[in-house]
Structure formats: C-alpha cells, structure tokens
Symmetry: C2
Subunit: 353 residues, 2 copies
C-alpha cells in the first residue's frame, strides 16, 4: 500500500525534522529538497527513506550541519573543497556552484571535494547545471560494497557516475548510475522477503556466484559489466578519493556501521560550458535531433517506447509534483515515528490525494 | 601459428607502407607506432591488422594524410580542433598536446575534435599524458554497431572510454574500454569458425538474443552492462559528436563500408593537472598505496593475482619489446602481400626469435 504525499508538504516535514536536530534552515531545506527530488524521480533508495540515518548521523556528530564548506585550493579552473563533514548535499552544492562559475569563466570547472558525506542522488546537481546550459559530470566514491575483478571481499563502493546535458526537450539527458549491477537495497529487500536474486548480481563470502539474498549480503554485490564496471569504479575512487585527500577504498567509512569518525567521502564535479564549442541553441538543436533519431529507432519486442536516460525519471517527477509523492506505508510509519520523536507534525494526507 | 617480429622492425615496415601511399614520414611513423603499440599490449583488434584498411582509406581519399589539423576555437582551457579528415591518431596527438598544455596552464584542458577518423587504441594517448604526471580521459564516437536499450538496430558505436593516471608502479592505471560487451572482431572470428558465441553478446536482426555468430553479425553487438553501457555510449556520442560538430549516431560513417565521404568521427580529450590538487609525489604515494591494497585483497577461486586496468597490457608490452610482437601467420601473410603491392620489404624474422 502506498500513500501519496504532496511534494511540498513532504519537503516541509523533512526540513522541520532536520531543524529539530539543529540543522540551520537553509541547509535543512536543501537536503530535504534533494531527498524529495529522488523520491519524485522514483529513486526511493536515495529519497526520504534516508531521513532516519541522516538525522542519526547529525545527532551522533558524524555530520556537522554548521560546518564551513571551504575552498581550500583555488587554481584557475580547478578547486579543492573541504566539506568539513557537512552534509554531502551541502558540500556538493558548493562544489556545483564553484564548478559552474569556473566553467562560465574558463570553459571548464573541475572541483574535488573531501571530508564530505553521502550526497544523495547525483541527478540533483546535474539537473541544476543543465538548466543553466552547462554539461555536468559528477562522481562520488562510497563505502566498500563491491570486490574488484578477481577479488572476493568488498573493496570499492558502488561509486556513482552521472552525466547530463540539455536536449531542448522536456527531459534533459541525465545518466545517473551506480557502478554496481544493482542497488544493494534490492538485495536487502529480497533477503527480507526470503526470495532468490538473479544470477550475476552478487557473490557469497567465498567469492562464488549466489542467488541466495542473505548469502549475497554477507558476500558482495558485483560491479556492472564485469571488469569494465570494476575499472570505472576504481577510476572514480581515484578521482574522488586519492586525488582530493578524501578516503578511498577501505578508508571511506560506512554511513550505517561506522560511528567512530565521519565518513570522509570524496566527490568530483566537472562542468563544461557548451558555448565554448558552439552556440547553445545550435547544440540544443543537434541534441534534440539526436534524441529524436534515437527514439524513432525500430523497437525490441515488447518495447512501447525508447526512453533515454533521465526521461522516465522526469516523467515520474512531473506526475509526482501533480499527484503527490508515492511512499510505502511502512516508510510513512517510520517517518511519522521520527516526527513524534522530534515533535514535528506529519502533514495531513490521504491515500486518494 | 604465430610469428614473432621485433617491434622496431614492424614499425619500420608499417611506416614504409604508409610512406608508399603518400603519408609524410613523421605521420607515417606516428600511426605505425600506435598500431604496433596496440599489438604489443595484446589488443590485436587495434593493431597492424588495421594496416590494410588504413592504407585503403588513404588511397581512396577518405583519409587526407597531408591535411592541416587546425585549432578552430581556442577558449582558455578548451579548444575545438578540426581534424581535416587526417588520421585519427594524428588528430588525437594534436588534441592530446593541446589538452596537456592547457592542463599545465589552467589545471584542465578539454579538447573536442571533429572531422577525424578511427584513432586506434585510446591507451596510446593516455600513456603519454600519464608519463607527464597528468590524468587523462579520452572518448571517441564510432560508426553504428550497437542498439540503444529498447532498440533493435545499430544506432550507437562501441564508443570507447579511456581513463588513466600515474600509480608510481611499473604500470600506470589505464582503463581503455569499448562500451560494448565484446569487440565485434570476436564475433567475426566466431562466424568464420562457425562456432557459437556466448549468450548476452548480441541480438539478431529482429532483436532477439542469439548465440549464432552469423545472426549476430547481421544483428547487433550489445552495450556492456545493459542500460548503463547504452547510456554511457550515448553520452560519449554527445560529447564527441553533438558538441564538436562531428557526426553522431547514423552520421558517423563506416570505415569499412562507406567510401562516399570521410567518416567524420569525433573525439573528446580531457587532461587534468594533478598538481592543482596535491603535489604529484603525494598523489603517486596515495595511488600506489591504493593499488597495493587492491592487489592484496583476498582472491576469487582460481585467481592467481589481482591485476588492475592496464597492468596485464603493460606486462605484455614489456615482453613484446623483449621477445618481439606475436602476429598470427595469416596476418603476416596479409602484411607481406601489402609489402609486395607497395614494394616494401618485409623484415627478415624467424618464428623462434
């Protein structure tokens, strides 16, 4: 059973929860907006389901909601940012702003970020840059969940990569993907339901392929595309972690299991000013033509429409802004419990909204 | 049966062949070196097996070996290069040089290239940048061979992506990959031998999965990792083709089947000066530590050693420089025939070299 909640009311509720644990209003609003944005796009794994862990990271002192996010090294079109263990979304927004300014001034802006935390869905940043006529590439490293090719135990995170650009159509092109075959959350769900998982998703503790969800959780989720996905995740770890002074490999701490020190996640943002190559209007015309040709291709059996990256998410978000965000009943119960604990009223909603 | 040919003698032979069809000596040497480099690394699909088609593209006027590779737009840390239908390797080397210069001056260098051709193995460029203490990302688009997710017929090329950085060890990290599950060349070989191909490599003309190599050739090779690989290949096409004014999707012409006009391939080079983020020595120490941790992970059953991207290729190249490049007898026969046709002597070699 799902409950539909107006996006604005849900964002207000989450903002108030963050404020209740001492997060300044503008930051509370930013992080809440990013989480609701993920739910609107149907990316539940990065949505308000994270409220509980985000709040706990704040109350346990692992996220510092009053930190100064500082530009440490400022070098022409690059910069290194120290996130001060602030919310990843906040550090990311500063990085985005710096990257966009530099792209406008120099053509490119490349920003490394260290001492950050989980930054939510990368599409949140990409959509903002694209709306300003820029192309954006965003990467982050993450705590260990995947083996490298040839390995058995988790060594790299499901390090996400996002790329976006304007298309001149309703939906910008936004590829926002983890470098794992599948979100670990899906394996958690299967383990709870005691249903098997497809072959190729994960290995057990000994490194053997498994379709047993519990064995997979004790083992590791696999990189997408074998050695290629593994190699990409490593390259992302190097740009986000090794290059920035953030953690990498084993030194990026778990958001869920490590309460000894902040995560020290690293990010890398690269903004590109399209107008350095051709007028934006010309690019958009070519991009729209490209997307049109793609969508008009002959379709595989059973496929009604060819959708490009970001297109289904954009449609879901439009529907969600109109009809409300669909949340599972169990999640609503968890959120309401958080509301009770922090004395924040749950908005009046109805399943039929 | 393979024949071992000294790398230098093989490069001399290929250089002389290029000169025989009117390629100026320095360019002939550059392209030949790039092809032999691929063979040394064991990437036969991008090695001297391409001599025949490269020569034919020149003699048919599809590659202009005397073109001027021009910087068309010069904008701070970005530039747009017109390759003039020169060899892709030549246009790529100009782009690399421009990218590296800009990275030194500004921290980043981002170079788009249009009116280019097949540029060989991207690792050739990456290794040069990494030797100078830079990180490099290289992309190229390519003629249509893969459907996008949901499609049936080829729409995107096996658009390669390469990323590299120094490791402080013998082998730099060089991830150089096509965005396809497998090189189309492997399916061609299976079709010749009438052996089946693994499931998941390709679809037939109707879009159904197939293990029949001939049906796969008439159908399409698949992107790696499903929608993620498809989305990456599209993003590469946009950066290399849409953004630069090169061909994209259907307007990148086949190197083998289209003799009406030059290919109009597009590339994108992004160089990053590591020292804008930390001293190179500090980065190399961190990268070496990272790679060491990775290699010391527990190994999967049957795995003797965990190798990072570029490490097996580097070892092969070292062995090849010592023992000669291993070429299949049939390829040697083809090369010798080219030698006879263009009056270039095949070097004296022996199988036991």
């Amino acid at each position: 059973v799902t409950v539909r909640v107006p996006a604005g009311a849900l964002a207000d509720f989450c903002t108030a929860l963050f404020q209740a644990v001492g997060v300044p209003a503008p930051v509370a609003r930013e992080v809440a907006t990013s989480l609701v944005y993920a739910d609107l796009r149907g990316v539940e794994s990065h949505g308000v389901a994270r409220m509980e862990i985000y709040l706990r990271r704040v109350t346990e002192g692992m996220i510092d909601p009053n930190a100064e996010v500082r530009v440490e090294l400022d070098n022409g079109c690059t910069a290194l940012i120290d996130g001060g263990n602030h919310f990843g979304v906040r550090a990311g927004m500063v990085a985005l702003e710096e990257a966009m300014q530099r792209a406008r001034r120099h053509g490119l802006g490349g920003i490394g970020v260290r001492h950050s935390n989980h930054f939510g869905t990368a599409a949140y940043f990409v959509e903002r840059a694209v709306a300003r006529g820029l192309a954006l590439i965003v990467m982050s490293n993450a705590p260990q969940t995947m083996p490298v090719t040839g390995g058995v135990r988790p060594f790299i995170g499901t390090n996400p990569l996002a790329i976006g650009f304007p298309t001149g159509r309703d939906a910008p092109y936004i590829l926002d993907m983890a470098t794992s075959v599948v979100a670990r959350g899906k394996i958690i769900v299967a383990a709870k339901r005691k249903t098997p998982i497809p072959a190729g998703w994960a290995i057990d503790r000994q490194g053997n392929p498994t379709t047993d969800a519990q064995a997979a959780l004790e083992g590791a989720v696999l990189p997408f595309g074998g050695p290629k996905g593994s190699g990409l995740a490593v390259a992302i770890d190097v740009l986000c972690g090794v290059l920035t002074g953030a953690g990498f490999g084993p030194s990026v701490r778990s958001m869920y299991d490590d309460w000894s020190k902040p995560q020290n996640v690293g990010h890398f943002f690269l903004a590109l000013d399209i107008e350095r190559f051709m007028p934006l209007a010309a690019f958009v015309e070519r991009a729209s033509q490209y997307v049109g040709l793609m969508k008009n291709q002959p379709r595989a059996p059973g496929v009604d429409e060819i959708l490009y990256a970001g297109e289904p998410e954009h449609r879901r978000a439009q529907a969600g802004r109109r009809d409300g965000v669909a949340l599972h009943e169990s999640l609503v119960r968890d959120l309401q419990a958080l509301g009770v604990r922090h004395d924040v009223l749950w908005p009046v909603t109805s399943g039929a909204l």
